[in-house]
């Protein structure tokens, strides 16, 4: 509606201006005509009276002539006629009303018309017609006509023009408003509503204006646009659902593969001890064994059952973990705690556990218990990698940023605790499998094949990663990288562990 009002206002202003100019010009023109008419009338009247007055003056004397002027005044009401001497002194009865200074031409015998004001202050025209009655004195007839009729005529004319203008304005305004509303505002309003709905995502309900002008074209363009948008949206939706379905399928396949790997791992881990239990139990049942061998078999059954129980428990732990509770953790303390915990096991295997001295705290954000478990698993793994004994070294390292492709949370820096052994090492092709559940290169019975996958899982949960460097026959280094605690001192420009690369 605002556009229509603006349009109407502009048109109205134009009309008003036009009418005003026209009225002004016409009033001025008519005024000029009227004035010319008045001068002409005065001239005619003056010329008509001039002869008889002069004749009477010469024939019957000045007194009679002045009486004649007075008589003429009695007959004529519109024009007042007076006799004036153009050399009379101010205040004299025959002194011209306009004063002598404007009447130079009249003195020289020429007719003069002057605009003046009468006694009541109204504008009037005074015409002086010289009449030669006395060669010694310049005399003239003063004809005064009020402009009042002209003023009245002008007022009426202006009022009439204004009235016409008002009616015209009101009429055309009403017409323009009605037409503007119908032709512009309403279709625009509908288009605006439609576009607003489109903006809110509602592409339904095409707008039909039933017109063949630009608005109709705009409406049909908007409708076409909506159809195309709807098509594009539908296509995008289909594509998205297809992609989601494909992803879901992939995930499903991935889950199946994981379940398959887990199942085969479980089958392997439980199949062998179960077989031993079965066969030993059968031997005992069949009475095929002597007393000592029966006892041996029973104890083997016990240990194999324990082994299976451990596997199942670890599996359950693996599956039933709650979210980590993050606190500030000093990796030095973790290393020392782990070494303390595992000292008996290490001693049994003739393995020395050594922790590098670190003067500064190595602060990371982590769940202390989980990190303990991950580091413990790595150290146990290292101990088991050295069946003939040796030294497991724990140290610390720092990296300013994660290596590319690591799905980690923070951009860095990262601090690490490293665990290095001088054991058998891992073949290059086996390194990627190290963290798979139940992958193990150790003799069965030594490990469940879950330790490294649990450690890897814990570190992933913390937004970190485990790095492995290994050389068969030389040893392996596992580094647990975790995001540095924001309050950490950042003083970790230490070189990487000098362990086995």
């Amino acid at each position: 509606m605002k556009v229509a009002i603006q349009l109407v206002s502009v048109v109205m202003a134009g009309i008003v201006l036009l009418l005003a100019v026209e009225a002004y010009l016409s009033v001025r023109h008519e005024t000029e005509l009227y004035q010319t008419d008045m001068r002409h009338d005065a001239h005619l009247l003056g010329q008509a009276m001039k002869g008889p007055i002069a004749d009477v003056w010469h024939a019957r004397g000045a007194q009679r002539a002045l009486e004649l002027v007075g008589d003429a005044n009695r007959e004529e009401h519109v024009v007042r006629i007076r006799w004036v001497w153009l050399d009379a002194a101010p205040g004299d009865e025959f002194y011209p009303r306009v004063g002598l200074e404007k009447l130079g031409s009249a003195v020289r015998g020429r007719e003069v018309s002057v605009d003046d004001r009468d006694e009541e202050g109204h504008r009037c025209l005074r015409t002086y017609v010289p009449v030669p009655v006395d060669p010694r004195r310049p005399g003239a007839l003063e004809l005064s006509e009020s402009y009042s009729p002209l003023e009245a005529y002008r007022r009426v004319t202006i009022a009439r023009k204004l009235g016409t203008m008002g009616v015209l304005l009101a009429g055309s305004g009403l017409a323009v408003v009605l037409l503007g509303t119908g032709l512009i505002a309403r279709p625009l309003q509908r288009l605006i509503e439609k576009v607003r709905r489109v903006g809110q995502g509602d592409l339904s309900g095409p707008v039909f204006l039933g017109r063949k002008d630009e608005f109709g074209e705009l409406a049909s363009a908007v409708n076409t646009m909506c159809e195309q948008l709807a098509d594009a949206r539908e296509a995008a939706r289909r594509e998205t659902s297809a992609r989601i379905a494909a992803l879901e399928q992939l995930r499903h396949a991935d889950r199946l593969a994981t379940v398959g790997r887990l199942a085969s791992g479980i089958a392997h881990e439980l199949g062998t001890p179960l077989n031993v239990v079965w066969a030993r139990a059968k031997l005992i049942r069949d009475g095929a064994l002597g007393p000592a061998e029966t006892r041996d078999s029973a104890s083997i059954i016990t240990s194999q059952s324990e082994r299976m129980t451990t596997t199942i428990r670890q599996l359950l732990d693996f599956a039933r973990r709650s979210p980590p509770e993050m606190t500030e953790v000093d990796l030095r303390e973790v290393a020392h705690r782990t070494v303390e915990l595992l000292a008996p096991l290490a001693h049994k295997q003739a393995v020395d556990l050594h922790v590098d001295a670190a003067e500064e705290p190595v602060m990371v954000r982590a769940d202390s218990k989980r990190i303990d478990q991950a580091v413990t698993n790595l150290v146990v793994n290292a101990i088991q990698a050295m069946p003939r004994g040796g030294t497991v070294e724990l140290g610390f390292a720092r990296k300013p940023a994660p290596p590319p492709g690591k799905p980690v949370l923070a951009s860095g820096p990262y601090l690490a605790v490293t665990v290095c052994d001088h054991g058998s090492g891992v073949a290059r092709e086996d390194v990627p499998c190290l963290f798979e559940p139940f992958f193990t290169t150790k003799d069965v019975g030594e490990g469940t094949g879950l330790g490294l996958s649990i450690a890897d899982d814990i570190i992933h949960e913390h937004g970190g990663w485990i790095e492995v460097t290994s050389e068969p026959g030389v040893g392996s280094c596992f580094s647990i990288y975790l995001p540095e605690h924001p309050g950490g001192n950042g003083k970790w420009p230490r070189p990487e562990r000098r362990g086995v690369r």
Partner: protein, 145 residues
């Protein structure tokens, strides 16, 4: 663990590869109880060592008959898997038959084992008596014959 014919040359010889100590002991005990001479290997490497010595050493190449009548091997072992060994043996003729034991009783494993010529595949856990019956069928204990 030797490849030379033992003094008990008349006994049928079985090469047994199994990484689980208890399982290996159990199998060895059962086979010996049934009258076989058993050579034990704790992993794939040892199994391969035994077979290499057997197949490549000139002094044993002329041996007749083959020093092992049967190989019984687990599939999943540290080092080399039983299946890899079986696959590698395809190059040689006149090999002892092989029985494979696996905990991964899936169809793919069985198919691979059959493709490489395993005479039988046992899924863990299995009945020891079934295995012994199969062993007797393939390599009759010579001491009894």
């Amino acid at each position: 663990m030797t490849t030379k014919p033992s003094p008990m040359g008349n006994l049928a010889r079985v090469l047994l590869a199994e990484d689980d100590e208890e399982m290996r002991a159990l199998l060895a005990r059962a086979l010996r109880g049934d009258g076989y001479q058993v050579v034990e290997c704790p992993d794939g490497f040892r199994l391969l060592e035994q077979l290499n010595a057997l197949l490549l050493s000139p002094e044993v190449l002329c041996m007749e008959p083959a020093p092992f009548d049967l190989i019984v091997s687990d599939i999943r072992m540290p080092g080399v898997t039983g299946l890899s060994v079986l696959e590698g043996l395809q190059l040689f003729e006149d090999l002892p038959p092989m029985i494979l034991i696996t905990a991964l009783g899936d169809e793919a494993t069985h198919a691979a084992a059959r493709r490489w010529g395993a005479v039988a595949v046992f899924d863990k856990p299995f009945d020891l008596d079934d295995l012994l019956a199969k062993v007797r069928e393939i390599a009759p204990a010579r001491s009894r014959s």
